[in-house]
Symmetry: C2
Subunit: 341 residues, 2 copies
DNA sequence: GTGAAAGCGCTAACAT
DNA sequence: ATGTTAGCGCTTTCAC
């Protein structure tokens, strides 16, 4: 019952295994006759090439590893979806791992993937990662490495990011034009380029409109737990924010809940803008304005670039950086911009 | 630069590969001396056993395949999280695939996983799957198979489900006790046992309270797109629902939006209850009452059971069915039950 | 206590 | 046009 092998076919047809091997792949040197006979027999007996044997020979297992901070997360699962589609269409398997935002687990995940002898690894790094030896290990093992979204600036390799700066700039500019002046920035830890880039966009938008940057309006607040503490505090102190630009939709959604529960009207008193444009933007009340990150596309682009590297098809020699465009999707949690015609 | 092998160590230490192999695993017949020397050398030169070679010998690749209908989906990603944790802790890799609710893709995913020679497969079947040959293929290939949540009744194998019946019964009973009488059931297609079981729970709860079952209150409505069509229609016709028991949180969240937009108050006029208790229950307004499915636990239980099968550790001979308890989590989209003390 | 040889399933170089 | 041989890295008889 254990799967039929080339040798079995060879024996049955009185051929040598190598002939069968060639016949299966229509090698030109093999007669049509033999090819047909072999392939027919194979079909009939449901022959399946043993991947493991192939992999041993080539010491490659047409598998790509992915490490994300979390799986239960709209943006990352969207990216995974894109990676999956691209990988599948190119015949690659996917080994998915998650660090749970924990450095130690990330290191372990890398080890596991290297152990499994993947041909390439896609990573969005954990929030708590400050050392990069495990990333360097990947490169030292001659395994292709690509960062997406949460890139690691300490390692020189391919990257795919969204234009966080422009996304933030556009959103904040919109908030300003709709009349907001005390715009709060709820970001993440300083080790995250995505957060820093958005903050630059935020600050530059304020500068463009000659609005002073107020440190009291800038906080680290990237989780629901933090939101519950940070936002009520900000709403009790001076300057009272009239808008929140949030690092993700979860924080933004909570922000709406908290503001409403404290008696503020959204968006009349307080505008709220998220980042990702995930499903929840449709079910908050009011519906949440957010910056779409096009996670699916990011996944596809990242996987494609990595596969090109693996297969030596990427023309550019040096490190490649691809940028995915963001898009401000205006819903109801932000005031409308008055247009005077 | 290509990874160092046992043979390399053997050559370097003037031993035979077999001795090195044994020494690495502290085989009793090998002298302490040799063991130490070998292990030291291995450590120093960062020797890593080649999994692929191991796998070829045993024709097993300590990999588990998973097929879910969708990855971008709170419940399934939660289950995946549980599967991942359990698999990782047992040293198994995970090959994750998604059918996108499409039968053809599901068939292809199964093929891919069998090709990859996984030791076992966990499946939650797609909505459009009505033929089961591909599932039978898995069994015929001597690969362990387990269904979770969206089980296939046509195949006799291990299953892990939630107690959909009880979950529905409890929720509907709560709705009744809070004063609702025209409770709508928004379910899925009849080929889905999870939907049928919940409907049984729904009907039995109504019967217990001698409320007539009204076919006009029972609809197939399991996606956001359907919700946009079905729910407004129901709210325009007799009997006017005073509660919606929904197959998932997405439909329930939209239900709240639609009801409000049509001028109804939630929960005063209309109660809404979801299923899963996903993250969005916290950000709808009012917050959504829902039946928690404990997806993470389901994932862990499913993976554990499958691994036990793979390793021959499961004692029970026949097919095993495990049931995960559900839990009604009451928030604000349902009226309170009046208690007269 | 250690080594030699065979084999997992496949392919490719080298015959014939 | 087909067969023979060797080898990917490892383990496991079977010898010594």
């Amino acid at each position: 019952m254990g799967q039929i092998t080339l040798k079995d076919i060879a024996k049955a047809l009185n051929l040598s295994p190598s002939t069968v091997s060639r016949a299966m792949r229509n090698h030109p040197a093999i007669s049509k006759e033999t090819c047909r006979a072999v392939q027919e027999y194979a079909e009939e007996h449901r022959y399946k090439p043993n991947r493991l044997a192939l992999q041993l020979r080539t010491n490659k297992n047409n598998t790509i590893g992915v490490i994300v901070p979390e799986i239960v997360h709209y943006f990352f699962s969207t990216v995974l979806d894109g990676i999956q589609q691209e990988a599948e269409s190119e015949g690659y398997n996917l080994l998915i791992s998650h660090s749970n935002e924990d450095y130690e687990r990330e290191v372990k995940s890398v080890e596991t993937l290297l152990d499994a002898r993947v041909c390439g690894i896609l990573i969005s790094q954990s929030k708590t990662t400050l050392k990069f030896d495990h990333f360097q290990d990947i490169i030292d093992n001659n395994v292709n490495l690509l960062f997406f979204d949460r890139i690691c600036t300490g390692i020189n390799t391919d990257k795919v990011v969204v234009d966080d700066y422009t996304g933030a700039f556009t959103a904040v500019e919109y908030l300003i034009e709709s009349g907001c002046r005390n715009i709060a920035f709820l970001g993440s830890v300083p080790s995250m380029p995505i957060s820093n880039n958005r903050r630059m966009g935020y600050e530059d938008a304020l500068r463009k409109y000659k609005i002073a940057i107020n440190k009291n309006l800038i906080e680290v607040c990237d989780t629901v737990d933090l939101a519950k503490v940070v936002i009520p505090e900000m709403l009790k102190h001076d300057p009272l924010p009239d808008a929140f630009f949030c690092i993700n939709d979860e924080v933004a959604a909570y922000c709406i809940q908290i503001a409403k529960s404290m008696g503020f009207k959204v968006p009349e008193d307080i505008s709220v803008c998220g980042f990702t444009n995930s499903y929840i933007t449709e079910v908050t009340y009011p519906r949440l304005t957010s910056v779409d990150q096009h996670g699916f596309e990011m996944g596809k682009v990242a996987a494609r670039l990595l596969i090109n590297r693996i297969e030596g098809k990427e023309k550019k020699e040096g490190v490649v950086s691809r940028v995915i465009k963001t898009e401000l999707v205006i819903k109801e949690s932000t005031k409308l911009v008055q247009t005077f015609a």
